[in-house]
Amino acid sequence: MTLEKPGFIDPVAEAQACFRLVLRTMSSPGQIVTLANPVAAPPLTPATAAVLLTLVDAEVSLWLDEPLADSWDWLAFHAGVVRATDIGSAAFLCTTRLPPLAEVFAGTDAAPETGATIILQVPSLEGGKKLTLYGPGLETPIVIAPQGLPADFVAQWEQNHRIFPRGIDLLLCAGSSFCALPRSVRIGEG
């Protein structure tokens, strides 16, 4: 069943194209981009699947939450990814519910780049509670309204930003689209 779901059709070109979109979203927090070549691999959405194929491999550990656990075979086959045993040790987390950020590895002051990346699969990047983003990458503050974030997200993010340069970077994926919240961004409600 796993092998019936292909990965990238043209791995070199599609990984490059997807990476440039990820780079754009990390450079411009909150900006929503859409993949030209979605990857069909449920229960992962096309954006989640493409981002994972672009970023993870046998060199990094990944944690999946229960609703996405059916994707292990597909990820093992297409990415050779290493399975993380727990949330706190994973370099990448791919999940449908945001784990408490305090339980995720945020790196160290000397090596903050070891802080994890969370790929959060949400129902939509629009129509949720309004959040205003400030910080590097933004000419002026912008407003996003993704659905599927926990009620205390702004408070959790404030703590994540407070420990900067340590911290966790977040990619929000819905359908074939995604946007990013790097740890450098500050988030206000409304």
């Binding site: 780079l23 990390m26 780049e113």
Partner: protein
């Protein structure tokens, strides 16, 4: 392209570099270590910048490569030819036509846009290395944002010479957090980095470090309230195009001490002269 993967690097290496680039963008100014690969060019030819460019480049990119502002030096031509060959990308000398610009020692005079990426070749990524040789020590200083050593060095300069004597690679603070080497660009270029719309990526091959400045990010030269950073520029106009706001190279014109000043950025100068020679592919 025979025998090479697209853009020379194999896919696992590109993924590793890409992961490092993303973390560098998320932590502006912080040096992220990466597992540099051997490149078919010697260190000093910009292997760090080349690896960053190779990891980001796609078939639809248009690449410009400059060395000290010029597109036609041996180094710039070699790198441009390399990427033409291994990635088949279009190349240009025109700043405004490029999607990716790899540079050694200059920032183009033409303002960059938010759909462009500037990749710097960096020989020495650690701004504190000349003051503190221990990598462990400098890492700790960055962890604590303790940059007193650099302040003391600048202050000693001011006390002895009346001004800071650094004319290249002037240390900058990024996002009010990290002290960063802007690479050996002239101090004149440093102010262009502040809130630049283009993403700035820095690759150091020998030291295996990648760092970044996202668009619209604060970059300010380290200075003092009573001795603010002062721009240093030769007080001349370009002999060729008349520009009074560009960075100038002094060129000796004969053996009797004759000299003139011309724009270091050859594309900018040619563009101002309406020179058709700057159009097309110089690869």
């Amino acid at each position: 392209m025979n025998g090479y993967n697209f853009a020379y690097l194999d896919e696992p290496t590109k993924r590793m570099i890409r992961r490092a680039i993303l973390k560098a963008v998320a932590i502006p100014g912080h040096q992220v270590p990466f597992g540099a690969r051997e490149m078919p060019l010697p260190y000093g030819w910009g292997t760090g910048g080349i690896q960053v460019t190779a990891a980001i480049l796609g078939a639809d990119d248009v690449l410009k490569v400059i060395d000290q502002g010029a597109d036609d030096t041996t180094n710039a031509v070699s790198i441009r030819r390399f990427f033409s060959r291994v990635a088949g990308v279009e190349t240009t000398t025109r700043t405004r036509d490029a999607s990716v610009i790899q540079t050694r020692h200059r920032i183009p005079e033409t303002p960059l846009r938010d759909d462009q990426i500037l990749v710097y070749q960096v020989p020495l990524p650690e701004p504190l290395a000349k003051l503190e040789p221990s990598r462990a020590e400098t890492k700790q200083m960055h962890a604590l944002a303790d940059y007193g050593l650099m302040h003391v060095k600048l202050y000693e300069d001011i006390a002895r010479f009346g001004h800071v004597t650094i004319s290249y690679d002037y240390p900058v603070m990024v996002n009010d957090r990290y002290l960063m080497s802007p690479s050996p660009i002239p101090a004149f270029d440093t102010l262009k980095m502040n809130r630049m719309p283009a993403l700035q990526l820095f690759g150091a091959g020998r030291e295996k470090r990648i760092y970044a400045v996202p668009p619209y990010t604060t970059v300010r030269p380290l200075d003092f309230d009573d001795h603010p950073f002062a721009l240093i520029r030769a007080p001349h106009a370009c002999t060729l195009c008349g520009a009074t706001n560009s960075y100038l190279d002094e060129v000796v014109t004969d053996d009797r001490g004759g000299r003139m000043f011309i724009c270091s950025d050859t594309d900018y100068c040619a563009d101002r002269r309406g020179d058709a020679a700057s159009e097309g592919d110089a690869a």
